[in-house]
């Protein structure tokens, strides 16, 4: 989807959660953030699959942190949005806002 210009819904959720978290964006907080905002359980594997895809596209960069005992000696993988990613988010936001603006009757209810 994003290859054609905009993020898909899931990609957008992941990248927005990533932006909200700033420097502390790794798997666990990203999943918690999405779960809190959407109220549904998130699969850690699918978050990483999406992040991997975004890394491949150059919208996100990743970096390994230090291994910790809490994680059984495994390292955290921190993610950060790239300038390209920010540009793409703005583009998607603009498109979505335009679409929402074209639906003023939604506030009063369509049906």
């Amino acid at each position: 989807m994003s290859g054609r210009g905009h993020f898909g819904e899931w990609e957008l959720m992941v990248i927005l959660a990533l932006m909200r978290l700033g420097d502390d964006a790794y798997g666990v907080p990203i999943c918690r953030e999405i779960e809190e905002q959407t109220g549904r359980e998130v699969a850690v594997g699918s978050v990483y699959a999406t992040l991997d895809r975004l890394v491949e596209k150059g919208f996100v960069s990743s970096q390994l942190g230090e291994p910790t005992a809490e994680r059984g000696g495994r390292a955290k993988r921190y993610f950060r949005i790239t300038p390209n990613g920010v540009r793409e988010v703005r583009k998607t936001q603009r498109a979505l806002v335009n679409l929402w603006n074209a639906l003023p009757q939604l506030e009063r209810g369509i049906g």
């Binding site: 850690v44 594997g45 699959a49 991997d52 059984g72 390292a75």
Partner: protein, 241 residues
């Protein structure tokens, strides 16, 4: 009361199935969440989802190879399910029909498993990408074919066995599961019979380290006197490749 340790089998599965280059990190995340109070059921769900998502992601990357593997699996097993009729024609009912069917199902499964694994090995030689070299592609294709085999088993029982539709659904399901288990056993044997591909030769720098580590801190330290022991450091950080 919640167990203090996550399910060992689930952790083992995640660490050994490896369908994603991020499995080590995912295992760490899951452990962190489990220690914060998540249930064992949640842990299992996450592990299974990680395996399925990793496998699907690999298949999406290599659609043509995946389709080829599934077609081969179906074609070989179609041949295997028709073969008993040739035996009956040649030898009559000299052998018990169930024995003949099971033998050919097993052989068909084994032949398809071996073929898929063989073609996958050839692909690995042609595309020595990081994910493929780590066997992620091979495992993903084999798991995909194992899944496709279940679909095939159901269709084979339903449409290729005469009068199957007249039987009750539970009998059809039992027959499907039995046929699937036999073919899957053969598939696993066929896939495992082929020796694992030899490890690729890693290009090394003039210092004798793999070039991919050349900029790592450990390798940079090698020139400092007394740091020779660092050569023995095992590089565990898979993500830094």
């Amino acid at each position: 009361m919640k167990p203090s340790k996550p399910p060992a089998l689930a952790t083992w599965l995640l660490e050994h199935a490896r369908f994603s280059t991020a499995d080590g990190v995912i295992a760490g995340d899951l452990l962190e969440e489990f220690n914060r109070g998540r249930s064992a059921a949640w842990y299992w769900r996450q592990v299974l989802m990680a395996i399925v998502v990793g496998c699907a992601s690999e298949v999406r990357h290599r659609r043509v190879v995946a389709i080829r593997a599934v077609v081969i699996t179906w074609a070989v097993n179609y041949g295997a399910i028709r073969a008993p009729f040739v035996v009956y024609r040649l030898f009559g009912l000299a052998f018990h029909p169930a024995l003949v069917s099971i033998t050919f199902s097993l052989l068909g499964g084994a032949a398809s498993g071996a073929l898929v694994a063989l073609l996958q090995r050839k692909d690995e030689g042609r595309h020595p990408a990081r994910r493929i070299l780590r066997g992620i592609g091979r495992r993903a294709m084999l798991l995909t074919c194992a899944g496709a085999l279940l679909g095939w088993a159901f269709m084979a029982i339903l449409f290729l066995k005469k009068g199957a539709l007249q039987h009750p659904i539970h009998q059809i399901l039992v027959a499907t599961i039995v046929y699937y288990l036999v073919a899957l056993t053969g598939f696993a044997i066929g896939a495992l019979l082929l020796p694992a591909p030899s490890k690729p030769i890693t290009p090394r720098s003039e210092h004798g380290f793999p070039v991919m580590y050349e900029n790592s801190v450990f390798v940079q330290l090698r020139s400092i006197p007394g740091c020779g022991a660092l050569r023995a450091v095992r590089f565990q950080s898979r993500e830094s490749l």
